[in-house]
């Protein structure tokens, strides 16, 4: 008996020690992440039920902020529409372009590293810096883009960021230009994982280039396509820095998007309660996108 107890007790103590060691390892990150990310996420929900203007906490108001959001805030639906417009304009083009670039790059090429670096560089370049260049290039009165268009015989070129119709397309263009290289690299990694035997087999069966794309490449990169689509959609739904440094949401509210609306309500108008309600709406959108991606990936992914 004594011998068993002797061997068991140190064992239990060892076990406890192991547990403590493991928790000590995760503690710094976990506590930090908990306090600075988890708790604020929960607080978003709590604060969204508060009437909290100009930094002065007033009272619990239930769903009043949500009612205001959906039925009274004149900007809200405009902002949601703008966000959709930005997403619809950016995601498909960026997706197709990055896949196309990746397919071009996934071949025996001279200077592959150079090409890849060039396409990727705009992604790592500072947004503030490239935005000012972009705005100068697309300056409606004297910018080189309009000068070129005019020299080509277009007497009345678009006024780009200066006009309500063209401001969003200009920003969409900048977004695609900046991000296509990033998703190209993601796709390139996926394409490199496609076994070459599949192409050889398809070739042997007499498949032409398009058929090889439709029946080999596309099905094989479907998981990546889901991933890229989700990343792009979440990316466009959360962005507002790009509008901030180009158009400031204007002209009027033409390029004001959901996240910009959150920013303005929180940090310009100091309506913390309402800004939190808008945050919860953004959270719901992201959640739905993630769930669709999850479901869709399971259903449509084609593991050959």
């Amino acid at each position: 008996m004594t011998s068993i107890q002797k061997t068991r007790r140190p064992g239990a103590r060892m076990h406890l020690k192991r547990e403590i060691t493991a928790y000590l390892f995760i503690a710094p990150n976990f506590i930090g992440y908990m306090v600075l990310t988890f708790v604020p996420i929960i607080l978003s929900f709590v604060y969204s039920t508060f009437d909290w203007n100009l930094g002065v906490y007033k009272a619990y108001t239930g769903i009043a902020n949500y009612r205001y959001m959906f039925f009274e805030d004149l900007d809200f639906w405009k902002v949601v529409w703008n966000t959709f417009y930005y997403t619809i304009g950016t995601v498909p083009v960026c997706l197709i372009l990055s896949l196309l670039l990746a397919m071009l790059m996934n071949q025996q090429l001279k200077g592959k590293t150079f090409f890849r670096s060039v396409f990727f560089f705009p992604y790592v370049a500072s947004l503030v810096a490239v935005a000012v260049v972009w705005m100068a290039l697309f300056n409606p009165d004297k910018g080189p883009v309009n000068e070129i268009l005019m020299s080509l015989g277009i007497s009345d070129p678009p006024r780009w960021a200066g006009s309500a119709e063209w401001a969003m397309p200009t920003i969409i263009g900048l977004t695609i230009w900046k991000q296509a290289g990033y998703y190209m690299v993601v796709y390139l990694a996926a394409l490199q994982g496609v076994p070459t035997e599949l192409y050889e087999a398809a070739r042997m069966d007499g498949a032409n280039a398009f058929q090889r794309f439709a029946h080999v490449t596309w099905p094989m990169v479907t998981p990546t396509t889901f991933f890229v689509t989700m990343m792009l959609i979440i990316g466009t739904f959360k962005s507002y820095d790009i509008m901030y440094v180009t158009t400031q949401g204007g002209p009027g509210v033409a390029t004001k998007v959901l996240a910009y609306h959150i920013y303005n309500n929180a940090f310009v108008y100091n309506k913390y309660g309402y800004a939190s309600a808008l945050s919860v709406f953004l959270f719901a959108v992201v959640l739905v996108i993630t769930l669709i991606q999850f479901r869709g990936e399971k259903r449509f992914t084609n593991y050959l």
């Binding site: 995760i26 976990f30 990310t37 990727f120 500072s126 260049v133 990694a189």
Partner: protein
């Protein structure tokens, strides 16, 4: 389109040659779209204001005006911006790497109660954008007097789920036998982490470091919301300040933008493999 051409045959086939020429033409055209804005930026930064928008574009200024590069430092606190951005970036990078790799070691190689549950908590929140919780987070930081301070931003960015996730993926690939052998030799878990895991995970550390660098150096909205005093402004904020205060001085705005891009450009040239690897690994889900 001959996109999926994997093995170009050695013998000459006319249609293949056309295909390859087309391939290079497309790639070079793509490169031009990517690079011309930067070329225009550099070219304009060396012009007088009157010459910036002359058309046709004069790509190489006849008499480069280097003075633009001197004047920008006098107009806004650019140097201070560099200093603040450097502090911010280095501190965040070090903290992210240390805390992520410690946590990742436990999640990958140690057994403890609640491991899967806690890891799931990381995974499920990884996709939640900052914009969802930036308001309560700001209120929290303000109550701790951590707004308008670099420390506030550092601790805001120091603990990432992405870092833990990425490092864990890497650590999973390190064989357990190696760790068992070290334990038999009497090495503590901390010793294993420091002497085996960290040295073996250099590629993952480099990738995380680059990801952190790109994010922190270029971050605009974080510092924009948190930092109000001019002395604490980061490079991006100072650049933005220049663009709003001297918005009609395009030549100098381009010079400031060029200067702001140089550090990233240099690092990118030397370490582009790691820049690209970080993206590729985040895309390939395990």
């Amino acid at each position: 389109m001959t996109n999926t051409e994997h093995m170009a045959p050695k013998r000459f086939i006319p249609s293949k040659a056309v295909g390859r020429t087309l391939l290079y033409v497309l790639l070079i055209a793509g490169c031009a779209v990517m690079l011309l804005p930067f070329a225009w930026m550099i070219s304009s930064s060396l012009k007088t204001e009157a010459d910036v928008f002359t058309f046709p574009i004069q790509w190489i200024p006849s008499s480069p005006r280097w003075k633009n590069y001197q004047l920008i430092w006098e107009k806004v606190p650019l140097l201070n911006g560099f200093k603040n951005s450097t502090i911010l970036t280095i501190c965040t990078m070090v903290l992210q790497i240390t805390t992520s790799s410690l946590a990742a070691y436990a999640f990958a190689k140690l057994e403890f109660t609640g491991r899967n549950f806690l890891f799931l908590a990381y995974v499920t929140t990884i996709a939640i954008p900052w914009q969802v919780y930036m308001v309560p987070q700001y209120i929290m930081m303000a109550s701790w007097q951590l707004t308008d301070s670099l420390i506030g931003i550092i601790i805001m960015h120091a603990f990432t789920a992405f870092g833990v996730f990425m490092m864990r993926q890497f650590y999973m690939g390190i064989p357990n036998e190696l760790l068992e052998a070290a334990r038999i030799d009497g090495l503590s878990e901390a010793g294993i982490w420091a002497r085996i895991m960290v040295p073996l995970s250099k590629p993952a550390v480099a990738t995380l470091a680059i990801t952190a660098f790109v994010f922190e150096w270029n971050d605009f909205m974080g510092p924009r919301i948190y930092l109000s005093s001019t002395s604490k402004q980061t490079l991006q904020l100072v650049l933005r300040l220049f663009n709003t205060q001297y918005s009609s001085n395009y030549a100098q705005m381009m010079a400031a933008a060029t200067v702001a891009l140089i550090p990233v450009f240099i690092l990118f040239c030397f370490l582009q493999r790691y820049f690209v690897q970080g993206v590729a690994t985040s895309g390939l889900k395990g």
